[in-house]
Symmetry: C2
Subunit: 213 residues, 2 copies
């Protein structure tokens, strides 16, 4: 177990907790106080660690993802299960009563883009909540205004999925999908802010009294 801890960077007490919670299978006992852990254990441990620390998942939600990853699902389902277990990127916004039109705008956008998004996807509700929050401050974004943003999101998703190509193992796919989704989100947000700074410099620096960067 100390070897597993050393290779994964996860402290021994944490590994013991994961074992007790059934998130990790016990190793093959080789002596009364020794067990052998294999490559499979290491990969599973890394995924558990990523789900809990990066994804912010509860033990119960982590167990759900692991069960799905253990099923003979295809890549598509493996990705979906991992995805849906994550928290929404949109902070809590009062639930709409369905009459404010934001849910309808989401449907319109999905149709305009020709996107395959399951009916049960929590992303539909998350996007509607985001639109409601925008409307609350007077910024009205409907399907029409979102299309150019959605096209750039589609191009970004193609880059993302390219990075899953060639990975065959379901544990590895789930782990990489998590990393791509959770850790890349703040990186992409930072890139956008940098690009905004640059774009503002290009358009406005030197104008109306501004000196610029």
């Amino acid at each position: 177990m100390s070897e597993l801890s050393r290779r994964s960077g996860v402290p021994v007490p944490t590994i013991k907790f994961y074992l007790r919670e059934g998130l990790l299978r016990p190793g093959r006992a080789t002596a009364s106080n020794q067990a052998e852990y294999e490559e499979e254990h290491l990969r599973r441990l890394r995924l558990v660690r990523a789900l809990i620390t990066l994804g912010g998942l509860s033990v119960a939600a982590t167990r759900e993802v692991l069960e799905a990853v253990g099923e003979p699902l295809g890549r598509y389902e493996t990705l979906g299960v991992t995805h849906y277990a994550l928290r929404s990127p949109v902070a809590a916004v009062p639930e709409g009563d369905g009459t404010d039109g934001s849910a309808a705008e989401v449907e319109r956008l999905v149709e305009r883009m020709g996107w395959t998004v399951t009916e049960q996807s929590p992303l539909r509700g998350a996007l509607a909540a985001g639109l409601r929050a925008l409307r609350g401050v007077g910024a009205d974004y409907g399907a029409e205004e979102l299309v150019p943003y959605a096209e750039l999101a589609a191009a970004t998703a193609r880059l993302d999925l390219d990075q899953l190509a060639g990975i065959e193992d379901r544990i590895d796919i789930a782990e990489r999908a998590l990393v791509l989704t959770v850790l890349m989100e703040p990186v992409l947000a930072t890139l956008r802010r940098m690009a905004q700074e640059n774009e503002a410099a290009l358009r406005y620096a030197g104008q109306d009294g501004g000196a610029g960067g």
Copy 2:
């Protein structure tokens, strides 16, 4: 004041708090317990509200942005000050000691993109922290890998800045920039997740046992 509260949707006690903290100028007294508030008060109140509730800014940081917005700065500086006051999108990551190369990768990226990003910009450190977090889970992104993402971020920023065109008033610019940055980030993250779901369906649905959406 009740009229101001009604028009802004901000409760009277909150307006009184902003007045006490000097975030809002007092109205013109018309009677011992009456004051007149103008359009300018309403716009400033909306900005204060947005900075504190959406941007998560402290009263002190809000005061700093308001002072900047009150100065005869150009659009570029107004945007910069608003931007820099915001929290980093990257969650707290241990500061690098500068030897892990992530800061150098950020410089390389900025140079490759030809971006104007001020030396003092907190975005450089935020991006380096994001790259360190990725490296911590074995996902090594350097300038090379980030360029295609940065190009899409640049296209997104052009859409963003298009929405500031035609707005001349500095309070309005600062408010709109905040909304664009803070409220659009989770919306864009949601669009990317939706697009990932669609892209995964296109590439993998029906393969290796998967039925798909």
